[in-house]
Amino acid sequence: ACDSDDTESPVTASTEVEPTNGESGRLKVATTTSLDNTGLWETLEPLFEEQNDVDLDIVAVGTGIALEYGRNGDVDVITVHSKAREIEYVDEGYGLERIPFAYNYFLIVGPEDDPAGIRGMSPEDAFKTLFGSEAGTFVSRGDDSGTHGKEKTIWANAGYEYEDVQSAGSWYLEAGSGMGATLVMADEKQGYTLTDAGTYLSYKGDLELVPIVDEGDTLLNVYSIIVGTNTEMPQAAQKLVDFLTSDEIQHIMGNFGFEEYGMALFTPCAGPIAPCNN
């Protein structure tokens, strides 16, 4: 689908001689919302634009759309957090390479008094308890996002068919909304939800929810960048990859959030560092 017009493919043309600044235009990046809502891109964008003569266009969408945009060639680069789908994307030939650059952990948040009593459990046990006791409402993103995908993985690990969970009862609510809205809803319902740390922190001020479960391998959340195979600006795209994985930026990423939330939102992990690579 992507190489039908080989002969005049700008990819081959530009990789040979032209310098980056010959690729005048806008480098379009589709990013998952959780990266953008924290304000990370807002910090990085001017830095990149300063270093390179290119307009960086950040489009914040769900992981699903980001991948679709990539497939259709509407964006040059995607930054997402759904390993399985990323690999599939690269395998299908839409992306050059999946390059992880940061990670953090998902959290199960819930009311302070923890009515279901899941504090300190592993994510799988916590979900089992919720399912069995039906003591606490669980609000699911229900939108096939990366976070939702993670939630499904945990349910699977805990030994449930997702369909059974969906029809398990009124304690399981499918919000079909973004992370922020889902958090607000969980707060309103005095229930639990699975959230990425960044969004939770930025909403924390308005919420009564507190982190209940924040440890466990399954909660790992890796963000990676993939350059599309049919981008018209391969050099600029490569620059962005280099930029994100550069020491300077990795450093900035590692400190991002201290000022506002008192803790780092991301752990940089460019290069062959665990846990990004498992």
Binding site: G62, G64, I65, D143, Q166, L173, G176, S177, A181, E188
Partner: protein, 238 residues
Amino acid sequence: MENSFWDAFVEALRLIRTLDPEVMEITWRSLQLAASSSTIAFFLIALPLGTLIHFNRFPGKRLVISTIQTLFAMPAVAVGLITYTLLSRSGPFGDLEWYLTPAAIVFGQTLLITPVMLGLVISALNAIDKAIPETATALGASRFQTYIICIREAKFGILTALVMGFGRAVSEVGVSMMVGGNIREFTRTLTTAIALETSKGERELALALGIILILLAFVINFALLSLQYRKLPWHYWK
């Protein structure tokens, strides 16, 4: 790529033909909610209030009309925010426990479409011959009776107000999403479902739901319009 539309259309027909229970349920809910809010907004607010505003002189009338027309530009998200602020647990109407229920959607949609309907009702009444209310008055109609006959004469425009309001209510997503929460089997409407499927990247399904929405609107409008055409000026018939 053009196939997308065709695929979406086929999918829409499939969903309708198989009477997909989830889609039917969502469609029915959308209809109920939009019908409720447009009924409330039209009959309880826009029609009576618009009539009163049009037929009465009072200081600041111009400003009132301009304000109404300005509120045409009220974004659904903003109405959602306002509704949220009012209805959320900690808000002034929090004890109604409407937030994240269909009631909240009706409330928000009503808020959203009232200015539209009001503005169009006033515009419709403004367009009728000034001699009509006078003739009615001269024939001994009370104020109320005069209003009724003027509304009758302005039928096309008044019905346009209703159709437009219903259309806006059934098609808005900001309010339903924000204050209804798009909860499956409870507050999910066609538009929030479309938004959801879109964000999932399920474009065909989203478009198919959009087509169902349009078909729904078409059925409703045809019912309303059949009223309207019954007495439409002759040249529409020819």
